[in-house]
């Protein structure tokens, strides 16, 4: 049991590391228990590719060394584009990890410190991503540098000092500083993560909420039935690693093969600053900062300066998150007893998504006071009231959701598709290309389907979940067959890959696609083996 003095407890009674975990964490749906591990895998991938990039990056000619690396060095484009998309993956997974912890109430005691460190890690990750993005030295990076400098120098009293510390005093120092801070922040993340991880081991995993009565402190009491770490968890972690890295490699490699990818998602450096091509680039930050850029367009931020704008629009949510364990002190982990936290969580998702979308469509266009106030008010109320309505109904028992997991999934799909189609509606209004119109229609269709499914779950039309089927096992011959097909495909892909000459971005990207497939095949083989040998 966590005692009064946590440091004393940790130091004097070290916990077993790594802890064994219940079987359901390695079965279907168990992925939700490993969102933190997936963030870490993405971070490790970043560290490894970052070290390779460090061998080539030259702050004195940031842009040239980057574009040369992409164009001239064998597999350079694969490493740079996957480093970028690995960062994207890390940020997305971090949000997923945070939101899951928020919705299941993992921030409650005894995990307050773990949660607080997590919020800090979010800030650091956005910081490290900002510096990494700016290191390219293209027109977008210069734009990002201007905004960052504006925010830093607006800090009262020490603003000039901050701007000098982070950005150097001359253009020659700029990229040396960027490189330095990129590495320093990555190191800070590693250290804080170690503490975060150790606390997680100390506080035990957060068990299924329905397994007990759902009251904090919700900790896992180890059971002799738990299987040992080796080989069960080790193979599972390996499988997870192959999945995450496979996706990190294959997605940007496919994107790299597609012509005319929109600037926001292009995996390549953009035009050099001061060139004619740079003038036609929209003033975009990286997509994960779009929401801040948009907020800086609001009349309030324009009047008070970018620093105070960021304090209000970025600092306040972060402060709320940091203070959450102390704001929501109730014992219950059930969502119906945490209506405000849940409502604010959903609100946060909507604000983040819509502000980003707004920033993508209208970058840098000033927004008058009434407009942004109306936006915050409408979205806030539009989320708050229905959430309360639904949660109250569930609490009273007048509303029953058959399978909450699937319902939540269909809601997530709904959010994603409505967001995507909103984006494409605006895009096709602006440019009206056939591709965006077609994808818009497709997305609208899938949005309608997710809406129907969500409503069906809500009304109990779709069958309720009747217990989790025990790890579905196939027949022995099927395992041999699928495994052989996977392996054969893998070896064939490897053969093609070894024949590729890495002399163009196209060839590099093909290699990347092949490598991503190999990772996914290895993932599949491990999954198969675990299913066969352990019934997991």
């Amino acid at each position: 049991m966590p005692g009064k003095n946590m440091i004393e407890e940790i130091m004097n009674r070290p916990q077993p590391l790594p802890r064994v975990v219940p079987d359901y964490m390695r079965k279907r749906g168990g992925l939700w228990y490993w969102t933190g591990a997936m963030v870490m895998i993405a971070f490790l991938y970043e560290a490894l590719t970052g070290i390779i990039l460090l061998l080539f990056y030259s702050p004195a000619s940031a842009y040239k060394s980057t574009t040369d690396f992409v164009a001239d060095i064998p597999f350079g484009s694969v490493i740079l584009t996957t480093h970028l998309y690995g960062a994207y993956a890390m940020i997305v997974l971090l949000y997923v990890h945070m939101l899951r912890s928020l919705f299941v109430g993992a921030y409650k005691r005894p995990r307050e410190m773990q949660w607080l460190l997590g919020v800090l890690l979010l800030l650091l990750t956005i910081g490290v991503a900002y510096f990494g993005y700016s290191m390219v030295g293209d027109a977008l990076a210069v734009n990002a540098e201007d905004v960052g400098k504006g925010i830093a120098s607006g800090f009262p009293v020490i603003g000039w000092w901050l701007a000098l510390v982070f950005f150097g005093s001359s253009p020659e120092q700029l990229y040396t500083r960027f490189l330095g801070w990129h590495i320093i922040l990555a190191g800070a993340i590693l250290i804080l993560f170690a503490v975060h991880f150790f606390l997680a081991e100390y506080n035990t995993i957060m068990p299924r909420v329905d397994s007990e009565h759902g009251k904090a402190p919700h900790i896992d009491r180890e059971d002799p039935s738990y299987k040992p770490w080796y080989p069960y968890n080790l193979l599972y972690m390996l499988q997870l690693t192959f999945l995450v890295i496979g996706l990190i490699i294959i997605i940007p490699s496919i994107v790299a093969l597609i012509p005319n990818v929109p600037v926001l998602f292009s995996p390549f450096p953009q035009a050099a600053p001061g060139t004619a091509a740079a003038a036609s680039l929209p003033p975009y930050p990286p997509w994960f900062l779009l929401f801040i850029y948009k907020e800086l367009d609001f009349s309030l931020a324009a009047a008070w300066g970018p620093f105070w704008g960021s304090v209000v629009f970025l600092g306040a949510p972060l402060l709320y998150l940091a203070a959450l364990p102390w704001l929501d002190r109730g014992d219950s982990l059930k969502m119906v007893h945490r209506k405000n936290t849940v409502a604010f969580g959903i609100m946060g998702i909507f604000y983040l998504a819509w502000l980003s979308l707004w920033g993508a469509v209208e970058p840098g266009i000033p927004i008058p006071t009434w407009e942004w106030l109306a936006f915050f008010f409408a979205v806030g109320l539009g989320v708050y009231l229905p959430t309360h309505f639904v949660l109250t109904r569930i609490e009273r028992g007048t509303l029953k959701i058959g399978s909450p997991g699937r319902f939540a999934l269909s809601l997530g799909m709904l959010a994603l598709t409505s967001f995507g189609s909103g984006f494409l509606i605006m895009a096709s209004l602006a440019t009206g290309s056939a591709t965006s119109t077609i994808s818009m229609i497709l997305l609208l269709m899938s949005m309608a389907i997710s809406l129907t499914v969500a409503v069906a779950y809500l009304r109990g039309v779709l069958p309720l979940q009747i217990g989790q089927p025990e790890g579905r096992r196939l027949r022995g011959k099927t395992y041999t067959f699928i495994g052989s097909v996977y392996t054969f495909a893998g070896i064939a892909i490897l053969g093609v890959m070894l024949a590729i000459t890495p002399n163009s971005i196209y060839n590099n990207s093909l290699y990347g696609v092949g490598l991503g497939l190999l990772f996914l095949i290895a993932f599949g083989l491990l999954r198969l083996y675990r299913s066969f040998a352990y019934g997991e």
Binding site: A60, P74, A272, G483, G490, L498, L518, A522, F532
Partner: protein, 241 residues
């Protein structure tokens, strides 16, 4: 695990070993793929002695057509500039002549760098009359640019046939590798190496010799580079005013 039949045990064991083998093969395939990529990637590119990182750019007019010898005026009183090796580095393009505006062949010369005492060999003139030379247009003394630093034709009353900087009075001799004539500068102007294609009558810039361009850590860094894949640099003409 529970559903496994004990009668299937021997067959299952073999199958398990086989699946294990397949899994190991899959992981091995990943390792080979990663290793090949990583190993081939981290080998640094060996720089060819001729290229050494300088881009080769053709000189073109603002219309986009290549510069011909006839586009260049002997002893042009106007300032003819092009950017190289970075987009932010202006350079003089000079067709040198005598006082009666006849082309003068420029021989390679040994140029001394007073600051260090070292020397370098200037590339000499190119073109049909070996009279076309080029140098950085950023003064090595304190970085003044045209029109403060400009070429005075041999017919000029002041500084005839010299590069002179109005800021602090440094003077360079374009006929002898832009060597220092008078201070306060301690360095000659960096020379641009040109290449002339006599069959097409076109000019390209291939590299530089001499000191480093003023204010830059190296000639190839510290400014705005050309977009990757650039093939030409545009010649602009401004009045000496």
């Amino acid at each position: 695990m529970s559903s496994r039949d004990s009668s299937e045990e021997p067959e299952d064991e073999g199958r398990r070993t086989f699946l294990k083998f397949l899994g190991a093969l899959g992981v091995a395939a990943v390792s080979v793929g990663v290793l090949r990529g990583a190993v081939q990637n981290i080998i640094p590119r060996v720089q060819g002695s001729s290229s050494s990182g300088y881009p080769t750019l053709q000189l073109v007019l603002s219309s986009g057509s290549p510069v011909k010898t006839s586009d260049l005026v002997v002893n042009n009183p106007k300032i003819v500039l092009f950017n190289y090796p970075l987009l932010s580095d202006p350079n003089f393009l000079l067709r040198l002549g005598d006082s009666s505006n006849r082309d003068v062949a420029i021989d390679p010369a040994t140029v001394k760098i007073p600051e260090t005492g070292k020397t370098f060999t200037s590339p000499g003139g190119v073109g049909p009359y070996r009279s076309v030379v080029a140098s950085s247009a950023i003064c090595e003394h304190l970085g003044c640019k045209p029109p403060q630093l400009r070429f005075h034709p041999p017919s000029d009353s002041s500084f005839p046939g010299k590069l002179h900087c109005d800021c602090h009075g440094s003077t360079y001799d374009p006929y002898r590798g832009f060597a220092v004539v008078t201070g306060p500068t301690h360095k000659p102007q960096p020379n641009i190496v040109l290449k002339y294609d006599s069959s097409a009558d076109t000019y390209s810039v291939v590299s530089m010799v001499g000191p480093t361009i003023f204010g830059q850590p190296s000639n190839l860094s510290g400014g705005t580079p050309f977009p990757s894949g650039a093939k030409s640099t545009t010649v602009t003409i401004q009045e000496a005013a």
